[in-house]
C-alpha cells in the first residue's frame, strides 16, 4: 500500500514541480493575448482528443470501480 501512496504523492509533486516557479509568483500568472501562439497549437487543449477520452472512460467504467475526473462521472450502462 505504501508503494501506491508513493505513486500518488509522486504524481502530485511532479504536477506541481513542472509548473515551475509560477506558483510562487501568482501575480505574474498568465499571458497577454498576443502570447497565446503555443497555447493555440493542436494538442495543447486540456482534453485534446474528446473521442479517445469518451471511449476510454467507457472502457475503464466497465473494468474498474472508479469513474469521472475530467468531467462529471456521467450516466451508466449495463457494462459487464
Amino acid at each position: 500500500m505504501r508503494v501506491k501512496q508513493t505513486v500518488g504523492a509522486g504524481a502530485i509533486v511532479i504536477l506541481l514541480g513542472m509548473t515551475g516557479s509560477g506558483l510562487t509568483g501568482c501575480a505574474n500568472l498568465g499571458v497577454k493575448p498576443w502570447e497565446r501562439d503555443l497555447l493555440a497549437e493542436p494538442g495543447m487543449e486540456i482534453d485534446p482528443d474528446v473521442i479517445i477520452t469518451a471511449l476510454d472512460e467507457h472502457i475503464y467504467f466497465s473494468k474498474e470501480a472508479s469513474t469521472g475526473g475530467l468531467g462529471t462521472a456521467g450516466g451508466g450502462c449495463g457494462c459487464n
Partner: protein, 409 residues
C-alpha cells in the same frame, strides 16, 4: 470541450463545424469482445453559440467472470434467464458466456455566451440497450477571469437509469435456482439515480503551461447490484462449494457517495507536448484509487505525430467485497465477488499515430494494451482454493481508427 474553448484560445467566432469519428475494437482473449463506433460534432455559430452532438453505438459479446470460485469438480451454473446452463471445468474460473448486448447512446449540448466572459451550457443524454436505459441532463456555467488566463467552471448533471435484466432482478443472497426453476425476484424494474456536482479551475501559467483541476461529488442512489453476479458459499475445510445452495446472488448497498479530485498539467516543450494527470477517487463503499496518466505528443512537423501513452491505476477493495462466503458463517449485510470491486492495479500502454491527410483532415490510429492484476492467491484462502488463481490477470487489446474533419469553414 477542450481548454481552448474555455479559455478563449480559439479566438474565432466564424461559423464552422468540426466532426470527429472513430471505430474501436476491444478484445480480452477468451472473454469479452466489443466493437464501438462514435461520431462527435461541434458546430460553432457566428453568434458565439456552439452546438455539440454525439452518437455512440457499441456491441458486446463474450464471457465474463460470474463471481463464483474455481472448484475441484465440474460446476454447473444456471443462465440468468433460467433457461439453460453452462459448465466450468475443475480449477477454471467460472465465466458466464451469456453476454450479448448492443447499446446506442446520443447526447446533444448547447453552449451560449451570457456575456463576454461567461458561458452557459445545457445538455441532454440518453442511452439504451436490451436491459438498461439511461437518461440524463447537465448544466454548466463557465467564467473567465484575469484576461482569460483563469477559467472557473461549475457543473451539475443528473441521470436516471432503468434496469430490467434478463431473468429479472434476483433477491440479494437468494440461491441460484436449478435450470428451469424461477429465482426469487425483486418486483418490477430497478432504477438508479446519479447526481453529479463539479467545480473546475483552468489556469494558464505561462506561454507553455496550462493546469486544470477538477473536483466532482457524485451521489448515487437505488439499485446498484449486478443482477448477474454470484458468490460461492464454500466448505470451511475443503474450500469447494457446499452441497446445497452453493451459489448466492450478490447484494450491494443502495447508496454511494463518490469524491473525485483530478489534476492535469499540459506543457509545451518547444516541439512536443506532454499531458500529465493524476486522479484521486474515494467513495463510502471503501474504494480508494489513484490514477496517473501520461501522454507525450511527439510532433514531426505540422502534419504528423506519435503519442505514447502510459496509465497506471490502483484501487482498494470495497468493504463488502468477498471473494467467497464460508458455509456456517453469518451472512454479511452486503456482499459482492465482482472482481471490479476487489483490490487491483491496472496498467495501460499505448501508442497513437496521427497525420494530416488531404485538406486538413486528421487520421489517427491507436493501439493500446491493458492489463488488470489482483490478488491471485490470498493468504487466507481455504483448502483447495489455495491451489487456484482467484483473480486471473485480465489482458485486453484496444485498437482504434479515427478520422476528423471540418465542414463549412
Amino acid at each position: 470541450m477542450g481548454a481552448c474553448g474555455l479559455l478563449g484560445l480559439a479566438g474565432s467566432t466564424a461559423e464552422a463545424t468540426e466532426v470527429n469519428t472513430a471505430i474501436l475494437g476491444y478484445t480480452e482473449p477468451g472473454r469479452v469482445s466489443a466493437f464501438e463506433a462514435i461520431v462527435n460534432g461541434n458546430h460553432q455559430f457566428d453568434s458565439g453559440k456552439s452546438l455539440n452532438f454525439r452518437l455512440v453505438f457499441d456491441a458486446l459479446t463474450g464471457a465474463s467472470a460470474n463471481g463464483a470460485t474455481p472448484a475441484s469438480f465440474t460446476q454447473t451454473f444456471t443462465r440468468p434467464s433460467g433457461r439453460g446452463s453452462y459448465r466450468t471445468a475443475p480449477g477454471d474460473t467460472p465465466l458466464d458466456d451469456t453476454f450479448r448486448d448492443t447499446r446506442g447512446a446520443g447526447s446533444v449540448g448547447l453552449t451560449m455566451p451570457v456575456n463576454r466572459v461567461t458561458n452557459f451550457s445545457v445538455g441532454l443524454y440518453g442511452s439504451g440497450e436490451y436491459d438498461y436505459v439511461s437518461l440524463g441532463g447537465n448544466l454548466a456555467l463557465t467564467r473567465d477571469f484575469n484576461q482569460r488566463n483563469t477559467t472557473i467552471a461549475l457543473r451539475g448533471a443528473f441521470f436516471h437509469d432503468t434496469i430490467n435484466p434478463e431473468g429479472g432482478r434476483p433477491v440479494p443472497f437468494s440461491a441460484m435456482p436449478d435450470e428451469g426453476t424461477q429465482k426469487a425476484k425483486l418486483p418490477g424494474n430497478g432504477t438508479k439515480q446519479t447526481m453529479d456536482l463539479g467545480l473546475g479551475l483552468t489556469q494558464v501559467f505561462n506561454r507553455r503551461t496550462v493546469v486544470h483541476f477538477n473536483y466532482t461529488y457524485s451521489h448515487v442512489t437505488d439499485y446498484q447490484t449486478d443482477p448477474f453476479k454470484l458468490l460461492s458459499v464454500v466448505d470451511p475445510v475443503t474450500g469447494d462449494p457446499r452441497a446445497a445452495d452453493a451459489y448466492l446472488y450478490e447484494g450491494r448497498p443502495d447508496a454511494r457517495d463518490k469524491h473525485v479530485l483530478f489534476g492535469r498539467l499540459v506543457r509545451h516543450l518547444g516541439r512536443d507536448i506532454v499531458h500529465l494527470s493524476y486522479r484521486f477517487f474515494r467513495d463510502d463503499w471503501g474504494v480508494r484509487s489513484h490514477t496517473v496518466d501520461l501522454t507525450y505528443r511527439w510532433n514531426f512537423g505540422d502534419r504528423k505525430f506519435f503519442k505514447p501513452h502510459l496509465r497506471y491505476y490502483n484501487q482498494t477493495a470495497a468493504d463488502f467485497y468477498h471473494r467467497y462466503l464460508v458455509d456456517g458463517e453469518a451472512l454479511p449485510g452486503h456482499a459482492s465477488a465482482d472482481y471490479r470491486l476487489g483490490d487491483m492495479y491496472t496498467v495501460t500502454y499505448g501508442l497513437t499515430h496521427g497525420r494530416i491527410v488531404g485538406d486538413d483532415h486528421e487520421l489517427t490510429v491507436r493501439v493500446e494494451y491493458y492489463a488488470q492484476m489482483g490478488e491471485s492467491h490470498p493468504a487466507d484462502a481455504i483448502g483447495n482454493l489455495r491451489n487456484y488463481d482467484l483473480f486471473p490477470t485480465v489482458n485486453a487489446l484496444i485498437m482504434q481508427v479515427g478520422y476528423s474533419f471540418n465542414l463549412f469553414q
